[in-house]
């Protein structure tokens, strides 16, 4: 759809969907926020855009994949039982720990030697590290074909939380029953016809059989139409358990982070370093340790986000898996005001909702542009991001 016809076609707004779409947006945004926290924390202490953060995210997802294999959910395994939440927790912890270590290593080997150098040099190093992890990772990590984590590892995969906003029309239930009875009869007729003709597949039936099949198909359409009309007669919010877990975990991690930053000693040191790097070191803060800690925490959050996206959403992993989420999260961090922790959360949620609303309005093909449009619009009026400060650096 090109721009002209897109506008001519007009917006296709389905207001019945709006509450659901807002919920979708918040679910999406919570993951953006989780990754954005890593960007913003690192930026806060070092004034460095950690371009390799997306790759840490990618490695976290791979770690979750490997743990799921180790737990017996490998691609070739057959007859898998129901998993339990313990497995999920193991994957989560493993991802977070490994990501924290990787984050610390990257800081130690690639960023620390560059600390006294111009920032742009560190930035290029970050780009180099990010390319290195993408391409070198492709040699060693399973990525051809891209690997998904099996859904069986998620015990809550078939459960959906329904929050009814407006009850459904109960009179449809009777109609559905009668339609289903008709469908079953038609289905049975097709089955007997298949037995009579002795064919294995319903696509090989003779013309009479095909007629029966036609009727059956029509009945099936009627059933589904009726069912969806029944569903549409009420309004309810659907939240898949997996995504609910993602949201709740993300929220919990953010609260823990807030506690660490605001109420603990390392947290205070972190804030001090982010306020003034040199003065902080003069005040007896071990700056190196704080920077390492920041990288560890930020990367662990990315690891949590990665594990949950990979596990609950069924995404296929390649070594480029982290690029786009990384960029989106980076935008979210800047949107909220980079270096500002609540800002990252706000930015992430805002972006999630914005993207979802764009899809809702029928412009799904411009979904990925909207994040940047909003960003530019916001920065025009608040150059420091939503919650950030835009003070000019004094000489």
């Amino acid at each position: 759809m090109d721009l002209g016809t897109a506008f001519a076609a007009g917006l296709q707004l389905d207001f019945a969907n709006l509450p659901q779409q807002l919920v979708n947006g918040i679910l999406l945004g919570s993951i953006y926020a989780l990754i954005a926290l890593g960007y913003t924390m690192v930026y806060g202490v070092l004034r460095l855009i950690n371009f390799a953060h997306g790759e840490v995210f990618m490695l976290g997802a791979y770690m979750a994949l490997f743990v799921s294999w180790w737990l017996g959910y490998s691609p070739t395994a057959t007859s898998l039982g129901q998993s339990s939440w313990v497995n999920l927790l193991m994957m989560l912890v493993a991802s977070m720990v490994v990501c924290a270590i990787i984050g610390m290593l990257i800081e130690l080997f690639a960023y620390r030697p560059m600390r006294s150098q111009p920032r742009i040099a560190s930035l290029i190093t970050a780009i180099g590290v990010s390319l290195m992890l993408q391409y070198a990772g492709a040699l060693f990590l399973p990525n051809s074909p891209p690997q998904p984590i099996r859904e069986e590892v998620n015990p809550y995969r078939n459960e959906v939380l329904q929050i009814p906003l407006k009850p459904r029309d109960a009179e449809f239930l009777e109609k559905i029953k009668s339609e289903e009875a008709e469908f079953n009869a038609a289905e049975a007729a097709v089955k007997t016809q298949m037995e009579v003709e002795g064919v294995k597949s319903e696509f090989d039936l003779s013309p009479e059989g095909r007629l029966l099949r036609e009727t059956r198909n029509k009945e099936r359409t009627d059933v589904t139409t009726m069912k969806s009309e029944y569903e549409r007669s009420g309004v309810s919010l659907l939240i898949p358990y997996g995504q609910l877990i993602m949201f709740v975990t993300a929220l919990a991690l953010m609260l823990i982070l807030r506690h660490i930053v605001m109420n603990t000693k390392p947290g205070r040191a972190m804030r001090a370093v982010s306020l003034d790097f040199d003065s902080a070191s003069l005040m007896g803060i071990n700056v190196n340790r704080i920077v390492t800690l920041t990288f560890a925490i930020g990367s662990a959050l990315a690891g949590a986000g990665a594990m949950m996206s990979a596990t609950f959403l069924g995404l296929s992993l390649t070594t480029f898996f982290g690029v786009q989420p990384g960029v989106k999260a980076f935008v979210a961090a800047v949107l909220g005001g980079i270096g500002n922790i609540p800002g990252a959360v706000l930015g992430g949620l805002l972006m999630g909702v914005a993207e979802t609303l764009v899809v809702w309005s029928g412009y799904g093909d411009y979904k990925d542009a909207i994040a940047f449009v909003i960003l530019i619009a916001v920065l025009l009026f608040r150059p420091g991001g939503l919650l950030g400060s835009s003070k000019v650096e004094k000489v």
Binding site: D2, M114, M132, V334, A371, F372, I376, L379
Partner: protein, 397 residues
């Protein structure tokens, strides 16, 4: 040596180099070589033009591929729709298209430049990055531009010399700007925006001018690229390309035009030349990687902690390098005794991007100010070097 003679010599030398490159490429009779020469020229234009924005004016732009794309697509679509009924053929049309590409890209530069005036540093960076993505997505959704598949551009023009002549012109524009009174404000803005504005520099104008010229040059590169390739697609202008252009600028030495040119050529050729490397076993890969890391670590230590004579430092570097070479050789033989490592084979084609990113990291670690720092090529420098040689020769004889 006075102003005009130097100038004339410089221009003639530039022309000479352009046509020499072109002649050499043609003489090779190999399309692959020729193509690389042309594309290297395109990358030189891109890198030099970003250097103006990023290196000279200090505006952190990481979406340069967007201007390249605007130039390529605008020139491409005009060519496709109007070439047949324009009545202009050959070189004049291409020159016209270069102007068109420059205009549209400059317009895009204005669109980014103006709102970004209030932004600095990383905020500007993310806006330019975002702008690049917006352009790519808009192009990707346009039917006349071929959506994600791409667009045929006809007619094709394949003038090697023109690409390099344009590159030369881009270099000349930047160099003259830098050396003239108009250029000093650019440097002032880079060094300190607040101080510059206190000294009466019109910061706004400087930034917008830098964006305008830089993006226009990238647009010219786009027009040349589109007409050389005959086919353009959004895939070619993705975000990583912007990063690579940025890397060329930083690697060459931020602000150094000579550095940008050299780094562009080097970084463009590196992955292509790596194609000729033979396959490597797991043991060799491991040994090479280990020795390289060790060498970088030791060299870095010498740079940081050794403050003796330059000659001695050089000897140390040489020692480290040779030692690590020997180590990697021995280690690779040892490691290849492990069957798993000896049997794992990695073709060069799969390793080239890994080595590319490795070189990037290593160069940044051992030489963060870039290959040339702020240094530039100049006739004085050449004279000095030649003079030194001559005096050394005189001494030894």
């Amino acid at each position: 040596m006075k102003y005009w003679p130097t100038r004339v010599v410089s221009i003639l030398a530039g022309f000479g180099v352009c046509f020499l490159i072109s002649a050499l490429a043609d003489a090779s009779g190999n399309d692959y070589t020729k193509r690389l020469v042309v594309l290297a020229g395109v990358w030189v234009i891109l890198s030099v033009s970003l250097n103006l924005i990023n290196g000279i004016t200090g505006q952190f732009s990481i979406g340069h591929a967007a201007f390249w794309q605007v130039g390529a697509y605008s020139a491409g679509i005009i060519s496709v729709q109007h070439y047949a009924n324009s009545g202009i053929t050959g070189l004049p049309w291409l020159l016209l298209m270069m102007v068109a590409g420059a205009l549209f890209a400059a317009l895009a530069g204005l669109v980014v430049g103006l709102p970004s005036l209030r932004l600095r540093g990383d905020y500007l960076a993310i806006v330019t990055l975002g702008f690049g993505e917006i352009i790519r997505i808009i192009v990707q959704n346009q039917k006349p531009l071929g959506e994600a598949y791409g667009m045929n551009v006809s007619p094709k023009f394949q003038f090697t010399w023109l690409v390099w002549l344009t590159a030369f012109a881009a270099i000349a524009i930047c160099r003259n700007l830098l050396k003239s009174a108009h250029g000093l404000p650019f440097l002032a803005v880079r060094e300190d925006e607040v101080a510059a504005s206190a000294m009466g520099v019109n910061v706004t104008r400087v930034k917008v001018t830098a964006f305008l010229i830089g993006s226009a040059l990238a647009g010219v590169a786009g027009a040349l690229f589109a007409h050389y390739e005959g086919f353009i697609s959004p895939q070619q202008f993705r975000m990583e390309q912007s990063f690579i252009i940025l890397t060329m600028v930083v690697l060459g030495g931020t602000g150094s035009i000579t550095g940008s040119v050299l780094a562009a050529v080097a970084l463009f050729y590196l992955p292509e030349k790596l194609r000729d490397m033979g396959p490597v076993t797991g043991g060799q890969l491991l040994a090479g990687a280990f020795a390289t890391v060790l060498a970088v670590y030791l060299v870095k230590r010498v740079i940081d902690h050794f403050h003796g004579a330059k000659k001695e430092a050089a000897i140390r570097h040489l020692g480290i390098v040779l030692g690590c070479m020997a180590l990697s050789f021995v280690l690779s033989i040892v490691l290849n005794q492990v069957p798993v490592l000896a049997n794992a084979r990695y073709e060069a084609e799969k390793l080239r991007m890994v080595i590319f990113s490795g070189v990037l990291i290593i160069l940044m670690l051992v030489r963060p100010q870039g290959l040339l720092g702020h240094a530039e090529f100049s006739w004085e420098w050449l004279k000095r070097v030649l003079g030194q040689r001559r005096s050394e020769a005189a001494q030894t004889s």
